[in-house]
Symmetry: C2
Subunit: 510 residues, 2 copies
């Protein structure tokens, strides 16, 4: 009897805890709706009120997460005998609570204010192509984020602490090892491609492509890929993104007449994010069990669909006719090889990350990673960034920016104070390859199914092995369970070497 009473008590405590967790989650979700609306629907004049609304929701969420009641409940529950699911929820909320509670609210607000002010400063510096205008602000943000990390853990590398905001479980050592390997192995591959005489059909998509027709095509592609319109929608936004929950996961894209392939691939990328979100268990909405794992896993889903599906030959076997239907005069004569080559061209002289191809993209990330890591660790000074940036571009990509606007000022992230975020883009791509390789082993004739427009098996595999688990497992454990191996860059490197070795007829890589 005593033990049953104890169990009831545990269950009462747990259910009080879950109420608070769900409220927190719903307030955050509300904030995401406000953010989506601001990007997609809000008239421009709405900004002053919207900023205050979003800030109020952030404050409410912060107070819910860091309240004494939440702290007490976590303490009590950690002393209880919980089942695995309950333990996972407590683990995730404990981590979020500790990070949030350790940082003084004043500092959080100061970072938020300095970032808000940093945005226009960064924008102007970029317009004027003058890094020195942004330098004092960047200096301040680096200091504040170092201070932020110190509150969370004064005994650890501050960059590690910041990185864990976006990828809490893989570990900075693993991340560094993977990024180092990408650098070591991709730089020679990129060099070899630059020296290749292969003649790819890179002009397949030249000309003006009507944007309404592009949108019609995009909706058709999303249909075939299995996007669930009862739980999603497609809109346009200045920067493609996805947002939502398992009941309502929306994607945005942008269309431009001269970039039909870019728009389509960007949409397939966002579709991958949305598909992850829609695969989260509905019955666990509002707790970590019904919330996605962090950036690495999320990005693995978008990259898997964008690169391993969307840039593959089987994909184009299915979709070339749809493109030709819409644009008969432009691509009526194109072959699957033509379109495959166009979709996988490695650009010779692109300096801009967001316009990069699948391969060189990672060198853009490695540059940013190395610089921001050393900045936060205090090993380099802000004033040295532009020169270092250009040197690294020359070393890793064989091209040197001749302006700050196309160099260290090109990305907005640092003006948000987002240090530690960039690496997850590459870590996600690496994971995408590892997951896709396993899926290919598990699903019979996956290539043929893709060519036939049958995506159910791939959806099922991803749902079973990734989506349905929400944040139940840590990232490393999730990878182990899904692939039977530790997280590794092997599959990604094999994939790009083989793919680009074939495309560019590289003897050393085929």
């Amino acid at each position: 009897m005593a033990s049953e009473a104890a169990a009831d008590e545990a269950s009462d405590t747990y259910s009080e805890f879950i109420d608070k967790v769900q409220r927190l989650s719903n307030v955050k979700q509300a904030g995401m709706v406000l953010a989506w609306d601001q990007e997609v629907m809000m008239p421009e004049g709405g900004t002053p009120a919207r900023s205050k609304q979003r800030s109020a929701l952030s404050t409410v969420a912060h107070e819910l997460l860091t309240s004494d009641e939440m702290a007490d409940l976590l303490d009590e529950l950690e002393a209880e005998d919980l089942d695995d699911d309950q333990q996972a929820v407590v683990r995730e909320i404990r981590r979020q609570h500790d990070r949030a509670a350790k940082v003084p609210q004043d500092l959080v607000e100061e970072i938020s204010e300095v970032s808000s002010e940093a945005m226009p400063v960064w924008h102007e510096a970029k317009e004027d192509d003058d890094f020195s205008k942004f330098a004092p602000t960047l200096e301040k943000l680096v200091e504040l984020k170092r201070e932020y990390a110190e509150h969370i853990d004064p005994d650890r590398d501050p960059y590690e602490v910041l990185f864990e905001e976006y990828e809490p479980y893989l570990g900075i050592e693993k991340a560094e090892e993977v990024l180092q390997r990408l650098r070591d192995e991709l730089v020679p591959l990129i060099d070899a491609i630059r020296e290749s005489d292969a003649d790819l059909a890179t002009d397949t998509f030249e000309g003006d492509f009507d944007v309404d027709t592009q949108e019609d095509l995009t909706r058709d592609v999303l249909d075939t890929l299995g996007y669930d319109w009862d739980h999603g929608r497609l809109d346009t936004a200045p920067h493609p993104f996805s947002s939502g929950n398992q009941f309502d996961a929306r994607v945005t894209t942008r269309f431009s007449p001269d970039e039909p392939l870019g728009a389509l691939m960007a949409t397939v990328h966002e579709f991958g994010h949305a598909t992850y979100t829609l695969g989260l268990p509905r019955e666990d909405y509002g707790t970590p069990l019904g919330e996605s794992r962090d950036m690495t896993v999320h990005e693995s889903q978008s990259r898997l669909w964008e690169n391993h599906v969307g840039r593959s030959k089987p994909f184009w076997e299915r979709f070339l006719p749809k493109v030709q239907d819409r644009f008969p005069e432009k691509v009526g004569d194109a072959s699957v090889s033509d379109i495959y080559e166009a979709a996988n061209e490695v650009y010779e002289d692109n300096l801009i990350r967001v316009e990069a191809d699948e391969l060189t993209y990672h060198m853009h990330i490695v540059v940013r990673f190395e610089i921001e890591r050393d900045l936060i660790r205090g090993e380099i000074d802000v004033e040295d960034v532009p020169e270092l940036w250009n040197d690294k571009y020359e070393e890793y990509l064989g091209i040197r920016p001749d302006s700050d606007a196309e160099g260290a000022l090109q990305d907005i992230h640092w003006s948000h104070g987002d240090f530690g975020y960039f690496p997850t883009y590459s870590l996600g791509s690496v994971l995408a390859a590892q997951l896709f390789d396993t899926a290919e082993d598990d699903i019979e004739n996956l290539d043929e199914k893709i060519a036939d427009g049958e995506f159910d098996d791939l959806h099922d595999w991803l749902t079973e092995n990734v989506h349905q688990h929400g944040s139940r497992y840590t990232t490393d454990e999730l990878v182990r369970q899904a692939t039977g191996e530790e997280y590794t860059a092997d599959y990604f490197l094999d994939y790009v070497k083989s793919k680009y070795g074939d495309l560019y007829e590289l003897d050393d890589y085929q």
Copy 2:
């Protein structure tokens, strides 16, 4: 020195109070964004998550409003020497706080649950044309709302207490007096119209009107009326509504091929609401000084634009050419009189409130008001409602519903537990006439300006006399200041008697 210190202290207390008030307001505003999105943008499958998000924001808002800290701050501030603006803010928050704090949270949640469940029950009962299916639910809602009123004030008429949720300052006695006068004076007018031989050009808008062209026309009309697209947008929704704040006030409408005039007038109505919202002082966003007065005043703004502007001859002098441009084959030959008559037809046998004309509309309201008042007061039983409803329609409108679906089940409001809301529709129309009459006195040649598409003076007058004050003054005081008189039905009755007397050539009314 002592008094300065005291003033500082008051000011610290006040600024702590204002922080909480603004947070509360922003959380409510966030809830409105979620509601707008749900009606206009959300994929249908998003409902389960959205309900939880909105419920979480309601709970957060309720806790912010009823917290001990808020109670203490109100107590302290009421003992301080505040200026007029500060006193107004304290008065409004005190009223909201007291109402919210007196009702147990359990009861609020029960009402919310029963209303949620009531919606589909009402819907099914209406589909099946069977009031008895809805009766037990209505009975329950009446009981719960009576209980709700009793918590707020056990010594007053419960209907009065509920009515004050929507119109807190005019007083139920004044409301009853006005509605009684409408009944007494409009029933004979409606009778006279029914007996009139006047032949109005009511077929001016017959046929199918392309909805895209209707939308183009509607946007043009909103442009000319002065809608600020930098702070607003137009979308379609199943039921037209407006929503937002002084930075972002949106309108929705619905288009149907056979109802071009209905869509346009509905949009002008919502434009009136949005114009009020956009006229609220921006610097007071987030406090009652920057929030609209209640339903009566809000509805006065929509009705003023819809009826006194949109259904007037000068309006059609300006806009008929725009309609003719879009639909030359349908209305190319129509005169201003034709279109004016079509816009002001009094329907002979319309049983449905939302399809009613400007005049008979108020009899629909009086029926609902009398029935819900007597229900809440316990003077009639739920089972008697359908018969009573039909009797009153026969008495006031000369037509008798032969089904519950077209009778007591037509409106959704009672299934929401919204008792006390209906009267504000008529009270707002009455105020619209009083305000418009004053504006006509104050603005030189207002009719000519409307005919010329010059609306600045009217906007300025409304902003100066109504919008800019937010909730600074109570409703009665606002009316007194704007019109120099007490709130009265005189102007409305004069207006409709003269307008319909002319239209229907009624000797006794010209």
